[in-house]
C-alpha cells in the first residue's frame, strides 16, 4: 500500500508539487532579475554597463517618463544590435522608478508613434521613444551606434550617451540657444544646426545688422561671412561677450580677411593671417576620399579635444587660414590652440584666384595653428567668455552624414565639444561612445584558410580512426 502510494498516484502528486516549486523558483528569479541589477557583463567593452555620471544623474531625475520600444520583446531579444540597447534601457528603469519601459509591436499597432513623428522622420521598428508628456524624443538605432558607412562597420555604441542626453533635454525647461549670425552672406550650415539640435541645443538665425543679440542667446556662431561686420555689428558682439556670452567663428580660407572682424578676433589674442595653409601632398597627412583630398589636422591635447584624442579620432580640413596666438601681448586673454597643421605644411599669402598651391622655397613652413579657443573675464563677476576661432569653415559646413558617418571624422564633434564646454555641459563629453574594437580577423590568407580547414577536419578523422581501432580491438579480444 505504501509503495502503491509512493509510486502510484502519490508519485504524480509529488511530481506536481516539485514542478510547482520549480515554477515558483523561476518566477522568483525572474522578479529578482527585473528588480536588481545582477547580470554579469562579460564583454570586453562592458557594453551593458553604465557610467557613474549617468548613475548620479538618475538619482535626481524626477519626471515620470515612459520609454517606448517599437518592437516586440521577442524581436528585441533576437536582434543582436538591439540586445545591448535593451540591457542599457533596463538599467535606467532599475535605477530610477520614474522611468518605465514599454514594448509596442508595430504589427499590432501600426499607427502607434504617429504623434511623435517629426517632419522628415518615420517611426521604424526598433525605435526608442522617450516620452515625458510635454517633451519627447525619438531615437533610432542609427542614433545609438557609431557607424562608419564607408567601411560598413559599426565602430561604437553610444546608447548611454544618447539616452542620458535625451533625459537631460527632458529635464531642462529651457535649453541653451545658439544664434547663427546672418547679414554678411554667411553660410547656412544646416548640418551644424541639426547636429546641435540633436545635442539638445536650440538654434535660430539672427540678422545682426537689423537686430540686437537677444537675452536668451548662450552662444553665437559665425560661419563664413563674406562681407565685413560694421562697427555697429562689432559693438553688438562686444556687448554680448561682455555679458558672459560665448561664440565660435569659422572663417573661409579662400577669402580675403575682413578688417573689422579680424580686428575683433585680435582683441581675443588671436591674429588671423591673410594666407592659405596647404599640406604637402607627398606626405602622409593627406587623406584621399570621395569628398576631395583632405588633410588630417593635428589635434592638440585640451579639455575640448580630450575624448577625440582618447578615441584616436581625426579632424580634417581642405585648406585653412593660419592663426597666431598673441595672448601674451593681451594679458586679459588665455588662448589655447585646438588644432594645428602638420610639420610638413606650408603657408602662402592669399592672392585670390592667383594663389598657388605648389610648395615653393619662400613659403612659410608649418606647423600652424588652425583653430584656437580664447577665454577672458566678462563684465559679470565670476563669469568668463570664450571664443573659438577656426581658419577653415569646412570643419562644420560639410554634410555631417558624409564627414562623420561615412568617414568617421570628428569635425562636428570638436564643434559640439566646444559648445558643451562653453555652456558648462562637460559631463556630456564624459559619457563617451563605447568604442567597438574591430570584429574582423586580419590577414587570413586563402592558403591559411585552406590549412585551417584541413586541420579542423583532421581532428574528427583522427577520432574516428581511434574509435575504429578501439572497436576492432574489443571485437577481437
Amino acid at each position: 500500500m505504501k509503495n502503491r502510494y509512493k509510486f502510484g498516484a502519490g508519485a504524480y502528486a509529488i511530481f506536481a508539487l516539485f514542478l510547482a516549486v520549480v515554477i515558483l523558483v523561476n518566477v522568483f528569479t525572474s522578479l529578482i532579475v527585473k528588480k536588481f541589477d545582477i547580470k554579469l557583463d562579460m564583454t570586453t567593452q562592458k557594453m551593458y554597463e553604465i557610467t557613474d555620471t549617468t548613475k548620479e544623474f538618475l538619482k535626481d531625475y524626477d519626471i515620470p517618463t515612459t520609454i517606448y520600444i517599437t518592437a516586440s520583446d521577442l524581436e528585441q531579444s533576437s536582434y543582436e544590435y538591439f540586445v545591448p540597447v535593451r540591457e542599457i534601457l533596463d538599467k535606467y528603469a532599475k535605477l530610477n522608478s520614474n522611468i518605465h519601459i514599454k514594448s509596442v509591436d508595430l504589427s499590432d499597432d501600426p499607427s502607434f508613434g504617429s504623434k511623435y513623428v517629426q517632419p522628415g522622420q518615420t517611426i521604424t521598428r526598433y525605435s526608442v521613444i522617450v516620452d515625458a508628456g510635454e517633451r519627447f524624443k525619438v531615437l533610432t538605432l542609427d542614433d545609438l551606434y557609431d557607424v562608419n558607412y564607408q567601411q560598413s562597420q559599426i565602430t561604437g555604441f553610444k546608447a548611454e550617451k544618447k539616452l542620458t542626453s535625451t533625459l537631460k533635454y527632458i529635464l531642462n525647461d529651457s535649453n541653451f540657444k545658439v544664434y547663427f549670425i546672418t547679414g554678411h552672406g554667411e553660410t547656412a550650415a544646416d548640418g551644424a544646426k541639426q547636429y546641435l539640435n540633436d545635442a539638445n541645443f536650440e538654434t535660430e538665425d539672427l540678422d545682426i545688422t537689423l537686430n540686437d543679440i537677444p537675452e536668451d542667446a548662450s552662444i553665437i556662431s559665425i560661419i563664413n561671412p563674406i562681407r565685413d561686420f560694421s562697427v555697429g555689428d562689432i559693438t553688438k558682439l562686444d556687448a554680448f561677450f561682455a555679458k558672459g556670452g560665448n561664440g565660435q567663428i569659422h572663417l573661409n580660407s579662400l577669402q580675403q580677411n575682413l578688417p573689422n572682424l579680424t580686428a575683433f578676433i585680435r582683441e581675443w589674442g588671436i591674429e588671423v593671417n591673410n594666407d592659405v595653409v596647404f599640406e604637402n601632398p607627398e606626405k602622409s597627412n593627406r587623406i584621399i576620399t570621395a569628398l576631395n583630398n583632405l588633410n588630417r589636422a593635428v589635434i592638440e591635447d585640451t579639455s575640448i579635444t580630450e575624448d577625440i584624442n582618447a578615441a584616436n579620432g581625426s579632424v580634417v580640413y581642405y585648406y585653412s587660414k593660419s592663426l597666431n596666438v598673441i595672448a601674451d601681448q593681451l594679458s586679459a586673454c588665455e588662448v589655447t590652440p585646438l588644432l594645428s597643421s602638420s610639420d610638413n605644411s606650408y603657408s602662402k599669402p592669399f592672392l585670390g584666384a592667383d594663389t598657388e598651391s605648389e610648395p615653393a622655397s619662400d613659403d612659410r613652413q608649418g606647423p600652424f595653428v588652425l583653430s584656437a579657443v580664447s577665454t577672458k573675464e566678462s563684465n559679470v563677476p565670476g563669469t568668463s567668455s570664450s571664443l573659438i576661432v577656426t581658419g577653415d569653415m569646412m570643419f562644420i559646413t560639410a554634410n555631417p552624414d558624409e564627414i562623420e558617418l561615412a568617414y568617421g571624422f570628428d569635425n562636428f564633434k570638436i564643434y559640439l565639444n566646444g559648445m558643451l564646454e562653453m555652456t558648462g555641459q562637460q559631463d556630456e563629453t564624459a559619457i563617451s561612445s563605447k568604442k567597438l574594437s574591430s570584429n574582423m580577423l586580419v590577414e587570413v590568407t586563402p592558403s591559411h584558410q585552406k590549412y585551417i580547414l584541413y586541420s579542423f577536419l583532421l581532428i574528427p578523422v583522427i577520432i574516428l580512426i581511434i574509435g575504429i581501432v578501439v572497436w576492432l580491438k574489443r571485437r577481437n579480444a
Binding site: 509503495n3 511530481f15 532579475v33 547580470k39 543582436e80 574591430s438 579542423f456
Partner: protein
C-alpha cells in the same frame, strides 16, 4: 554515482558511439566555424554558437538514446536496480556521463577561438560565457533524452521521441512571433523553448535567469526520469 558515471563514460568510448558523436559534432562545428568566421573574416563567434546550438539538437540524442533503453533491452537494468545504488545516483551518473562526452567535444572546439587569437584580439570572457551557456543548454537537451530513454526499451524509439520533442520545440519556436502572436501564448511558449534562453550567453551576459531556467528543466526531467524508473521497481 561516481561508479555509474565512470562505467557509462567508458561505455561510450568502448563502443563506436562516443567516437561517432565526437566526430559528427566536430565536423559540423568545424564547417560552421569555418563558414561563419574564417571565410567571412568575422571575429565574433556569436553566429557560430547560435548555429551549433541548433545542430546540437540533432546530435545530442545520439548519446542519450541508449542511456536507459539499452539497459532495459539487455535486461541489465534489473541488475542495476537491485544494486545498492539509489535510482537518483544511477540517473545522475548516466546524465553526467552524457554531459562528459559533450564537454569533451566542447573542449576540442576550444581550438577554434585559439586559432582566431592569431588573427585578432579575442574577447575571452564573451567566449567563456557562450561555452557556459552551451553546457547549460546541452544539459537541458540531455535531460529530455534521458527521460525519453527511460520510457522505452528501444534505442530507436528513444531517439525518435527525443527528436519529436525537439522538432515540436523548433516548430513552436518558429510559430512564436510568426503565426502565434497572442502576448500570453508567446510568453509561455517562449519560456518553454530552451533554445530561446541562450541569447544572453551568446551576447556576453551571464544572467542568473536562464541558468535557473536550464537547471529547472534538468531538475524536472531528471526527477521525472527517477520517478519513472522507481515506478518499475514495484510493478
Amino acid at each position: 554515482m561516481k561508479a555509474i558515471f565512470k562505467r557509462e563514460l567508458n561505455a561510450y568510448f568502448n563502443s563506436m558511439l562516443g567516437y561517432i558523436f565526437l566526430a559528427l559534432f566536430l565536423v559540423i562545428s568545424a564547417v560552421l566555424f569555418f563558414t561563419y568566421n574564417i571565410l567571412n573574416g568575422e571575429m565574433n563567434m556569436n553566429m557560430f554558437f547560435q548555429s551549433i546550438l541548433t545542430f546540437s539538437l540533432f546530435v545530442i540524442p545520439i548519446i542519450t538514446m541508449r542511456l536507459f533503453a539499452e539497459e532495459r533491452h539487455q535486461k541489465t537494468d534489473q541488475l542495476l536496480l537491485t544494486s545498492p545504488v539509489s535510482v537518483t545516483s544511477i540517473v545522475l551518473g548516466k546524465f553526467f556521463a552524457a554531459m562528459g562526452v559533450i564537454s569533451i567535444a566542447l573542449l576540442i572546439t576550444a581550438i577554434f577561438p585559439f586559432v582566431e587569437s592569431f588573427y585578432g584580439k579575442l574577447s575571452i570572457a564573451e567566449i567563456i560565457s557562450a561555452y557556459i551557456g552551451f553546457l547549460f543548454f546541452a544539459g537541458s537537451i540531455v535531460s529530455i533524452g534521458c527521460f525519453m530513454s527511460s520510457l522505452t526499451d528501444s534505442q530507436i524509439i528513444a531517439a525518435i521521441t527525443t527528436y519529436g520533442v525537439i522538432l515540436v520545440m523548433l516548430f513552436l519556436g518558429f510559430m512564436v512571433g510568426n503565426t502565434i502572436t497572442n502576448d500570453i501564448a508567446v510568453k509561455i511558449l517562449d519560456y518553454l523553448i530552451p533554445l530561446n534562453k541562450f541569447s544572453d550567453f551568446a551576447y556576453g551576459i551571464l544572467n542568473i535567469e536562464p541558468i535557473v531556467y536550464y537547471l529547472s528543466v534538468m531538475a524536472v526531467l531528471l526527477f521525472a526520469t527517477v520517478s519513472k524508473i522507481e515506478s518499475r521497481r514495484w510493478r
